[in-house]
């Protein structure tokens, strides 16, 4: 019962997160690349219900900012300028799921007011919008890379475990080779060999391909182990005795038994690959400016001045915690569930 609750909770959390990111255009107040050059490193905008005189307003509002051109952290609040928050307000155009054009945003304030719920970065871009749009790149990269590496893992691990012998040896030594590869240097080499200017979608494909192709070894090993024990099960042996073909045995009896491992691996690999994207962008190998990704949001924290002066730059990192927690909870619940089934 607790287990089911845990799984359900994780799934709700993840579904919520994914839909926020899928509908980034709607939930984000601004476009992810829109710069407000007069508001660099603005702290998170405070939402008020009570005005300076203590009077209550049913519609929340924000105040304008007075900026200081030299020390960015030191913004003053301009109490004379009041901007009520508008719901379902028209704003910058965007596309839902990349197809349907729209202009409606969940929240917004009248220009020149600014609604920076997570603060702004060094170019005056809204951190919340960048976080949501960045998720589209980072999370998608994580999902696709995880799917790619697990599928490769199923093929390699399945074949190796089922047929054994020299094929097993060759595939598993290959997997070890992949595990031992200095993949970071490999990636630098790949980037250096590519033409100077590659489009963002090419960078994205590169990221996904490299992460997926290099990540298959570990799931392959696990799946091979499961396949090895599965093919010795009595019912599999019985099916073989009745003259079932290899193909039938693999798809009907052996691979279904790996589903627990596969699902658990996917739940574990997605956050790992999201983190890998963060690392790669941190090292300058990911998507570049001005596009947002979680990696590029976190890489600004490399600078001491940002790290020590603008606390809201940490917020994207904090927001990743519930997401990762969701995936690990899911992995945990799945593992328990399949363990109890197979017993």
């Amino acid at each position: 019962m607790r287990r089911r609750l845990k799984l359900r909770g994780a799934i709700i959390l993840l579904a919520g997160f994914q839909s926020l990111i899928l509908l980034a255009g709607f939930f984000a107040p601004y476009n992810s690349t829109a710069q407000d050059r007069l508001s660099p490193f603005a702290p998170p905008t405070r939402v008020h219900f009570f005005d300076a005189k203590g009077k209550f307003h049913a519609r929340p509002f924000v105040y304008g900012l007075k900026n200081n051109p030299v020390d960015f952290g030191a913004y003053g609040i301009d109490f004379t300028r009041v901007y009520p928050i508008r719901f379902l307000a028209a704003g910058a155009p965007y596309k839902i799921a990349g197809i349907f054009p729209a202009r409606i945003h969940l929240l917004g304030v009248e220009e020149p007011g600014r609604l920076f719920l997570l603060g702004s970065d060094g170019y005056g871009r809204d951190q919340l919008s960048r976080f949501l749009y960045g998720g589209q790149i980072s999370l998608r990269a994580g999902l696709i890379a995880a799917a790619l590496s697990v599928s490769l893992g199923i093929v390699m691990g399945g074949l190796a475990g089922f047929y054994g012998g020299w094929l097993d040896n060759a595939l598993m030594r290959g997997a070890e080779l992949f595990l031992a590869l200095p993949w970071l240097y490999l990636l630098f080499a790949v980037r250096a060999a590519l033409p100077l200017h590659i489009t963002q979608s090419q960078v994205f494909l590169l990221l996904v391909a490299v992460m997926g192709l290099l990540g298959w070894a570990r799931p392959a090993r696990l799946i091979r182990g499961v396949v090895l024990s599965a093919k010795e099960r009595n019912f599999v042996l019985a099916a073989r005795g009745f003259g079932a073909s290899d193909r039938y045995l693999l798809f009907r009896h052996v691979l279904p038994q790996t589903s627990g491992v596969v699902l658990t691996q996917i739940a574990l690999l997605i956050p790992q690959f999201v983190l890998a994207e963060v690392t790669l962008t941190f090292l300058g190998l990911g998507v570049g400016e001005p596009l947002a990704s979680w990696g590029s949001l976190l890489s600004s924290l490399q600078q001491y001045s940002v790290l020590s002066s603008y606390w809201w730059m940490f917020l994207p990192a904090l927001l990743l915690v519930p997401l990762f927690l969701g995936y690990y909870l899911a992995a945990d619940a799945l593992q328990e569930r399949f363990k109890s089934v197979s017993l």
């Binding site: 030299v70 060094g122 100077l196 200017h197 400016e289 600078q303 001491y304 001045s305």
Partner: protein
């Protein structure tokens, strides 16, 4: 400041007063030493200071050192004949107490101070000077300073007149002649001649050589070198300067250089009190350090514009033999001055100053920075950002806007190009990102590509495989002559189209003529007119779109006395012999 593409070049000229004021030999000096008397307020003797270096030196050999950190350390251990004062930016006597110039400006006679000793106690005479110049001029030694000493295609000729007089002959008058001596260390013949004769000079004075093999004429001498950690210098007891109270300089007993690999690490260590002096840091760290200023007992200095200028430029190389059709196609835009002018007009320099440098920089419209007060052409126009003007220029050059807002050229090709920067320089990447946003308003589709520094320089100067780039240069001196390599069309750092056999355009030919002329003209006013014209041509044709010149920001603990930072490299340690601990 992250990596700056520093032109390693010692100096040039400026001062037209000939001869040496002051600095008469002082009767109280022992054994006929002609010590120089400095003007600084006397300081306390003793103590040591710790300074962070951004990287480990590559060598301690002054003839071979090409990188900034090596030169920072070497400068503390060596001295030159004529020095450029970092305070006045004028030449002043150093090991040469005076000099005379012949009427045709081709012959310099330098008189050495007598009775001076190297830091190992051996005397200095004209033979050491001759030997040092033989090393700098030896083609096989590959000294980066050699180029400086080749004037009008011929190396400078050095002759000994007597034990303390040396004559330098040039084939043509050279306006910057006395400034080239700055930074050319005089070396001990008695220690290095054997290595030179046996062909081992390249292996002399490496980082692992024991301290007793070194000797110099600088305020300090090598005490200890710990690979990967620090280099410690101790006071040179034979140094040739004293203050007006008669104390022999330097005041400090010791100076420790710690290797602190990044700017952020240097800032943290300075803030924590581990180092006493912070040389050049970027503006975003200024407010961070400022907060702790009083509590931690240090002071920050904003010295205003220095000699660094950052700019955007396009690839104007002749790529016919290189076979890069992609770039060649775009060059028809880049080669049109109106296109470059439009880009320049669209760039919001004020935002660059505010967002990239936190207000601690000066916007630029020309190649000479406001720090260079003697040479800047103040009549250059400073047009504010104007997208309208940019659009007009583009229209007159045959570009037009498509309905969805994309800029296309006369053949209907969308305008799209990439800007290269070095990933290690956060400021330049940021500038490129702002420019990208500015140009997107004109309908241009611009991408920013960050590369590792050496990979970028390789593309800029060797393979020419780039479309546009954001770069910076730091002039080594206030004079225009060290910039020859940048502005001459045959120059190796003529970035947009280096090493041309003959000038590709009319205006480049004119710049060539003007630069050659200013080099051989001795009168400052005439030279200024010539160089003003160069600046006008550059501003008109915008081969480089100048963006901003960052202020020189330095810091020092309050307990350091006589700290007088300068806007010319070395910013903080140029008067290391006068610094003291209160």
């Amino acid at each position: 400041m992250a990596k700056v593409f520093v032109l390693v070049r010692a100096a040039a000229f400026l001062l037209l007063i000939i001869g040496a004021p002051g600095c008469l030999p002082d009767a109280s000096a022992g054994a006929g030493e002609e010590l120089m008397v400095t003007e600084n307020p006397p300081g306390r003797i003793g103590g040591r200071i710790v300074v962070g270096l951004r990287s480990e030196p590559k060598t301690l050999n002054p003839v071979l050192a090409a990188d900034n950190t090596s030169r920072d350390v070497i400068r503390c251990m060596t001295a030159d004949l004529i020095h450029i004062s970092r305070e006045t930016l004028k030449t002043e006597p150093a090991l040469a107490k005076s000099w005379t110039v012949s009427h045709d400006g081709k012959q310099y006679t330098l008189h050495l101070r007598e009775g001076l000793r190297f830091s190992d106690g051996q005397p200095l005479n004209a033979d050491d000077v001759l030997f040092s110049f033989r090393l700098y001029l030896d083609e096989k030694a590959h000294s980066p300073q050699r180029d400086l000493l080749v004037i009008g295609g011929k190396p400078v000729e050095v002759q000994k007149v007597n034990d303390f007089t040396v004559r330098f002959d040039l084939v043509q008058p050279y306006a910057a002649a006395e400034r080239i001596f700055d930074g050319l260390a005089i070396l001990p013949r008695h220690l290095l001649e054997e290595a030179y004769r046996s062909g081992n000079f390249a292996h002399a004075w490496t980082l692992s050589a024991p301290p007793n093999q070194f000797a110099g004429l600088g305020p300090f001498r090598l005490k200890e070198y710990v690979l990967g950690q620090r280099v410690v210098l101790e006071k040179n007891p034979y140094y040739w300067k004293k203050d007006r109270s008669g104390n022999r300089l330097p005041y400090l007993d010791e100076i420790v250089f710690l290797f602190v690999p990044s700017e952020d690490a240097q800032v943290v260590r300075f803030e924590a009190g581990d180092t006493d002096i912070l040389s050049r840091f970027s503006a975003e760290n200024f407010p961070v350090l400022e907060r702790e200023q009083v509590a931690r007992g240090y002071h920050l200095y904003d010295l205003g514009a220095g000699f660094e200028y950052n700019f955007l430029f396009f690839n104007l190389n002749d790529l016919a033999s290189k076979g890069r059709p992609e770039i060649t196609k775009k060059q028809s835009w880049f080669q049109d001055a109106r296109f470059r002018q439009a880009v320049s007009a669209a760039i919001d320099r004020e935002s660059i100053i505010r967002l990239v440098y936190h207000g601690r920089a000066t916007p630029l419209w020309g190649n000479v920075t406001p720090g260079n007060k003697l040479w800047i052409d103040n009549s250059l126009p400073h047009p504010a950002q104007s997208l309208d003007r940019a659009r007009q220029l583009l229209q007159s050059a045959g570009f037009s806007l498509k309905s969805e807002g994309t800029l296309v050229d006369a053949h209907g090709t969308p305008v799209e190009f990439s800007i290269l920067t070095n990933a290690s320089n956060a400021q330049r990447s940021k500038m490129a990102t702002l420019i990208q946003d500015d140009l997107s308003k004109l309908g241009m589709n611009v991408h920013v590509v960050s590369l590792e520094f050496r990979a970028m320089v390789d593309r800029l100067l060797n393979t020419y495989d780039y479309e546009a780039a954001v770069m910076g240069l730091v002039t080594g001196d206030a004079d225009p002559t060290p910039e020859m390599n940048v502005w001459l069309s045959s120059g190796e750092t003529h970035l947009w189209h280096p090493v041309q056999a003959k000038p590709a355009t009319e205006w480049e030919a004119e710049i060539d003529r003007l630069m050659q002329q200013q080099m051989t003209t001795l009168d400052y006013a005439k030279r200024k007119r010539l160089y003003d014209r160069v600046q006008e041509i550059i501003a008109e044709n915008v081969p480089v779109i100048c963006l901003a010149s960052p202020n020189i920001l330095v810091g020092a603990k309050d307990r350091i006395g006589n700290f007088r930072p300068a806007i010319l490299d070395p910013y903080v340690l140029w008067n290391i012999d006068q610094l003291y601990v209160r």
